[in-house]
Amino acid sequence: MIEAGNTQETESICAVAPMGLLAELTHRCPLQCPYCSNPTELERSSGELSTEDWTRVFKEAGDLGILQTHLSGGEPTVRKDLELITRAASDAGIYTNLITAGVLLTKERLKRLVDHGLDHVQLSVQHVDAKLADKIAGFKGGYSKKVELAKWVKDLDLPLTLNAPMHRHNVEYLDEIIEFAVKLGAERLEVAHIQYYGWAFENRHTLIPTKEQVYRNADTVDEARERLKGILAIDFVVPDYYAVRPKPCMGGWGSSFITISPTGKVLPCHAAASIKGMEFDNVKDRHLRDIWLHSSAFNKYRGTDYLPEPCKSCEFREIDFGGCRCQAFMFTGDAANTDPACSKSSFHKELLQIAEKESQMNEDDFMYRKFTKQTSKADASKVDAAKVD
């Protein structure tokens, strides 16, 4: 058996059918994690897609070839129609994964979601220490509610993934986090180091761990994978800043993945709105298949023909697709450039220097995720980045 490939040709020259759909049902969330992957400009609830919109979208998605969906947010359980949305996805033959902070669910509602076709729960965990967990999430009492939810998930015989976003404030607790996952009966654990976009970018100086800490985590994961074979599967994600090769972001732009924002914007990845000057189609105006095949946003960086040097002549071009477009834009001002996470990028050294410098800072004055944006240090940081040399 092999991991899925996705090679079927469709009518477009280089588009193949997408497999995954991240459905950001809302940007509302009771938690305020300072590394939230949502854009810093959150979408208001008044513009959110209706139940009918999502029902139609999932039908279109199933027809288009989507096999899995992540019902996410914000906090998806804020939506009162989550049951109906889950049913719509499930009816379209799509495997449904609920990505939740877990603090709003009751056991009765979880049971109802299962009855509506929910397949899997992914629960976020901020820390194994209740006080620190609540501080990171900016939400009191969150930790104990999560433990309770994990129990209900198991009672209902659902598979459970714990997602532990890693950063300076929990990086030394990986052993305990692994033990916690085993104790809760999780099948999977995602040890996902924060990537520094959006909110996390604003908070980078308070979050980024040292390279040594990240590499120690890697050793811990290797050891635990062997010891917990058949008991707990562990995924590990390294922060780009300490990588040598860039990650093949979304498996390539417009190659297998779609994100839909709360108001219906269709994005090649959840951070794509951070690339200035791009325009995104809305599911309210255009059929999902049409957007996937023909929209300017999905075709802009599809394939590898647009890539400049050093990607153009690079042997890894078809493996990592030049990395992440959003990060390329953030650091170089042009999303078509090589991701600075790549050691061949002329910006790579700078990226590492920023990480090394900021990882030594002893700060925890988080800019919490909120609807009213406080101050942006994005522009200032770019200047800093240029000055590091």
């Binding site: 059918a17 033959g93 598979p159 099948e187 058949g230």
Partner: protein, 96 residues
């Protein structure tokens, strides 16, 4: 909770976990296994094995059955089946 690694032997009566779904992917004309955050594409023989994993038949019985179908030595078939199922069990997809 003391979960143990499931070791597949000839006596194991395997079945797919309830949350792992084997279904045909019509658009791509292939079989797929849907699991949390994963999509696997089993080949035709793997699909046949998985369809026989009903929680009642043992690996021995499944191997005997397939050895007759494919006119191949049962030891070879059983070894392949155990390797495949152990791999899936280690991903957490098989119960017994």
């Amino acid at each position: 909770m003391d979960k143990q690694r499931l070791i597949i032997t000839g006596e194991t009566t395997p079945s797919l976990q309830r949350f792992v779904k084997l279904r045909h992917d019509q658009g791509r004309d292939r079989w797929i296994l849907l699991a949390p955050e994963r999509i696997l594409t089993p080949d035709a023989i793997a699909v046949e094995v998985l369809n026989l994993c009903d929680g009642e038949q043992s690996v021995n019985q499944i191997s005997t059955h397939l050895s007759a179908t494919y006119n191949a030595p049962v030891e070879v078939i059983e070894k392949d089946i155990i390797t495949m199922l152990q791999d899936l069990a280690d991903k957490g997809y098989i119960s017994s």
